[in-house]
Symmetry: C2
Subunit: 225 residues, 2 copies
């Protein structure tokens, strides 16, 4: 790649969604750092991913491992795919490292056991919680909350759009580039308050998946690319 | 029609969305009552609609007018398309008439002037406000919040799905029939708490319409009908 691409860290990146994004971004030429609470766990996930990509003949990709703090420090753009119950503690542990950067918050405020029921936090949305906690020098952009990890697997369709919310239009535009690099359409969807709509939709999709035995996603209609 | 279809009232049904639904349901063979705060206003809207349908050669349709209370009393299923600021007062005025019936709440909790910003009520959603106000003998089902009136106009595509939320599965199924009668796909989307997702999505769509100069809707993907 002749263009200098940002280095991306994925905090809590050892799950299906995190590693799915990691692979897609790595294949698109980005340097990706998988972060976890411990270096060991991150290394295991990165090794698994490298093995899968090697088996499929994917070459010249950069995926490395680090603990969440080191990952956040080393990256230009930081994504976070952790359960809602770990959102605040994870953000607090990397707050300083995120200053001046974009945080892509993928947190969905599910409240087990009723994960198919919308139960938004008093703050409005997980995205707003992140923005308030990190302060105005971090550009929080919420995205990917409706993307089932299933859809990121090799050979599965990505028939799902990504609604990108955040108070900075420039930061949203940067994230839309990453959405497209991952093989989906991304759209400006308004301020970080609007993350509530997308986060809540995840519970609706969980309900629909159960009701109709499917892997549902949403797409925008009536819009030209 | 050999089957006895329910009579449908549309409270606050004089606007573009209400008359759009009225026309589609009337054309599908339902008896429709357009309700408004005054009989005069309802009659004007019904007369306009009858004229449009006559001009287009639509025959044997039943659209009549009444004030909101009389409309609610005469109907089997009651839909309500009023601004959020009128939701509670309208419901209070027809509460007794709704007992034992299905209320289709189309209320979107927009807070002007920032209608493109999600600002859900403390109760969670307008749907939950309606259910709490009306009590458990009214089956509140929220639907149609993401359908732009634009899409109901003749000759326009209805490239938009309807997510149907409510605590009664049977009532949701009744409403899904009405969604289909209006020419769209309807899906079970969970309890009335899940109306929050759909209501909030309307603000996102308003933002997207402005940002991309379009009339956006949403469709589910990955689901077989």
């Amino acid at each position: 790649m002749s263009e200098k691409l940002p280095v991306i860290a994925i905090l809590g990146g050892t799950g299906d969604l995190g590693t799915g994004l990691a692979r897609r971004w790595a294949q698109a030429g980005y340097q990706v750092i998988i972060g976890s609470r411990t270096q060991d766990k991150a290394e295991a996930a990165a090794a698994d991913l490298q093995k899968i990509m090697a088996e499929r003949g994917v070459k010249n990709v950069s995926v490395r491992a680090a603990d969440n703090l080191a990952a956040a420090q080393a990256a230009d753009i930081v994504a976070m795919t952790v359960p809602f119950s770990h959102q605040k503690s994870t953000l607090e542990s990397v707050k300083d490292a995120l200053q001046g950067k974009i945080l892509i918050d993928v947190t969905v405020p599910l409240v087990p056991p009723k994960v198919a029921r919308v139960q938004l936090p008093a703050e409005g949305s997980a995205g707003q919680i992140a923005q308030a906690l990190l302060g105005e020098n971090v550009k929080v952009v919420s995205a990917f909350q409706n993307v089932a990890a299933h859809h990121l697997q090799e050979g599965k369709g990505l028939d799902c759009d990504v609604l990108v919310c955040g108070d900075s239009k420039d930061a949203r535009a940067e994230v839309i580039k990453l959405v497209e690099a991952a093989g989906m359409r991304g759209f400006h969807a308004g301020s970080i308050a609007n993350a509530a709509a997308v986060e809540a939709m995840t519970s609706v999709l969980i309900f629909i998946n159960k009701q109709y035995d499917c892997h549902a996603g949403i797409r925008l209609t009536g819009i030209e690319e």
